[in-house]
């Protein structure tokens, strides 16, 4: 397993937001977390990337225990978290945002090569490389955050609500980008409100409810289950 979470508990302002969840992500797969707002999906991602300290439980990445490590160490091990709300550097240029994505990379020629790749995949970012990030449209900003994460050659990409606030056409494009990233060998853990998008790309799915995982399985199985059909697909 590339990522394994065992009995993870997180408390926030006295309330238990994660009540001991366990899940795993296989190398090379796309896994998605479904669930309502406040179910604990984002908190789980934040615990993985070291932004939230767990109260109990373990997180293992590539057979190393990572809970309790500072975020920069976790990034260094190959986990990239695309935060909800994008977290761009709004007053810096698109190019500077991308360069900062490669902050931990040492090999200059490799950085340049990656940048070329990124520009080939996201021509709009190349076009707008001199513009401040805040002047981009919502969809372009989402592309930029994902591209910035890819600059660091992650093994595991955590995506938190990439389709939030985007037009239906843009949402489809995000789906395509996620598949693209996966084809390049990056393992993806996707948190999405848009269940159709999530189930469309993911192989495995965990369903969250108020801090617990209430169902899990392959997306094919879950799409057939009443729970997911009623609550997330409106069928």
């Amino acid at each position: 397993m590339l990522l394994e979470i065992r009995n993870l508990r997180v408390r926030y302002k006295g309330a238990e937001v994660l009540k001991g969840i366990s899940c795993e992500v296989e190398e090379g797969s796309i896994v998605t977390f479904l669930g309502a707002n406040g179910a604990g999906k984002t908190t789980t991602l934040r615990a993985i990337s070291g932004l939230v300290a767990p109260e109990a439980g373990e997180i293992w990445f590539d057979n190393k225990r990572i809970d309790g490590l500072p975020p920069q160490k976790i990034v260094q091990m190959g986990i990239r978290h695309v935060l909800e709300g994008r977290a761009l550097f709004p007053y810096m240029s698109v190019l500077d945002n991308l360069k900062l994505g490669a902050f931990l990379q040492k090999d200059r020629s490799r950085i340049d090569q990656t940048l070329k790749d990124i520009f080939a995949h996201f021509p709009v970012l190349k076009e707008r490389q001199g513009q401040q990030a805040r002047t981009l449209s919502g969809g372009e900003q989402q592309m930029l955050t994902i591209a910035r994460a890819l600059m660091g050659h992650p093994r595991l990409l955590l995506l938190d609500e990439p389709s939030l606030g985007l037009s239906p056409m843009m949402v489809r494009q995000i789906g395509k980008i996620v598949r693209d990233i996966h084809e390049r060998g990056v393992t993806v853990l996707l948190v999405e409100q848009n269940a159709r998008l999530a189930l469309g790309v993911a192989e495995k799915c965990y369903v969250f409810e108020t801090g617990s995982i209430v169902a899990s399985g392959t997306t094919a199985e879950l799409v057939e289950s009443d729970l997911v059909r009623k609550a997330y697909l409106g069928l």
Binding site: P71, Q72, V75, A87, P90, Y91, M92, D96
Partner: protein, 286 residues
């Protein structure tokens, strides 16, 4: 009062603005990256001035060399403050306020104890004045503004063109975003404290060559720094520069027309007005 007096006042103000800028840059950087209002920043400025006094007047070192050494040693003091005092507090804003306020009193008292009483002044950076059409401008003030602008330029190049400078800017614009690129926040804090303190030390040296030194000189300098940040806009280097120059000129002109007391009071009124009507200042974000 003649037109020459007004031009004279503007030029003097411009030069005073130089020392204000050096204080304000550090304050705004530290506030941006660490989310700390460094209440002892004025005392860092004072410490910078006294270090130059110690090295140059008491030990006979060359003045310019003394300013350079003071910039480095005061920068190291900034590093130590970050590591020993600020880092263990782990981000609690009120703890920072208490700790840095306490530190300012500690530094004042230490300097008071370390030096004998009596008037202390730094030698002139450059004696004499330039005359331009009946307006005199002392050479040390020209040096002050020139050094301030050169250091600001160096800072801007560092922030825009170097890897660590970009990382610092990024940390100020989005803390979590920077964390997620693998940028170590402690390294950023240490850097910003060192750079901010070094700049304030040069500010102290320039201010100290214009005015007398005393252990309490930092309080006023801190106030000026806050004023120029509010006017210029938080987190903006351009804002700090323009804010510093506006503040220097405004003080100088107000002193000319209404007396030196008003020169101090009116900018503070201006701060309150800005906070109410334009809290983001002239060049601030959001």
């Amino acid at each position: 009062m003649s037109g020459q007096d007004v031009v004279q006042a503007i030029l003097n103000g411009l030069c005073m603005g130089g020392t204000y800028i050096l204080v304000g840059l550090g304050l705004t950087l530290i506030l941006g990256v660490m989310n700390i209002l460094q209440f002892a920043h004025g005392e860092i400025y004072m410490l910078g001035a006294f270090t130059v006094y110690f090295l140059c007047v008491l030990k006979g070192l060359n003045l310019y060399l003394a300013v350079f050494v003071s910039m480095i040693t005061t920068g190291v003091v900034g590093l130590i403050i970050e590591r020993v005092l600020l880092r263990p507090l782990k981000g609690a804003f009120l703890s920072y306020v208490c700790a840095t306020t306490g530190l300012s009193l500690i530094l004042q008292t230490l300097v008071l104890l370390a030096f004998t009483k009596g008037t202390k002044q730094l030698p002139s950076l450059w004696k004499g004045s330039f005359e331009l059409g009946g307006v005199y401008i002392s050479r040390e003030r020209v040096i002050a503004i020139t050094m301030a602008l050169l250091l600001t330029l160096a800072l801007v190049i560092f922030l825009r063109r170097t890897k660590y400078g970009l990382a610092m800017t990024a940390s100020a614009q989005n803390r979590e975003g920077a964390l997620m690129q693998g940028i170590n926040p402690y390294v950023m804090s240490a850097m910003v404290m060192a750079i901010g303190s070094g700049l304030a030390a040069v500010g102290g040296a320039l201010g100290g060559s214009i005015f007398n030194l005393d252990p309490y000189m930092g309080g006023l300098a801190f106030m000026k720094g806050i004023t120029l940040i509010v006017i210029g806009g938080l987190g903006s280097i351009l804002g700090a520069v323009v804010g510093g120059l506006i503040l220097g000129i405004a003080e100088s002109l107000l002193a000319l027309f209404f007396g030196s007391q008003m020169g101090i009071i009116i900018p503070l009124v201006l701060v309150i007005a800005f906070l109410i009507f334009r809290p983001r200042g002239l060049f601030g974000h959001e």
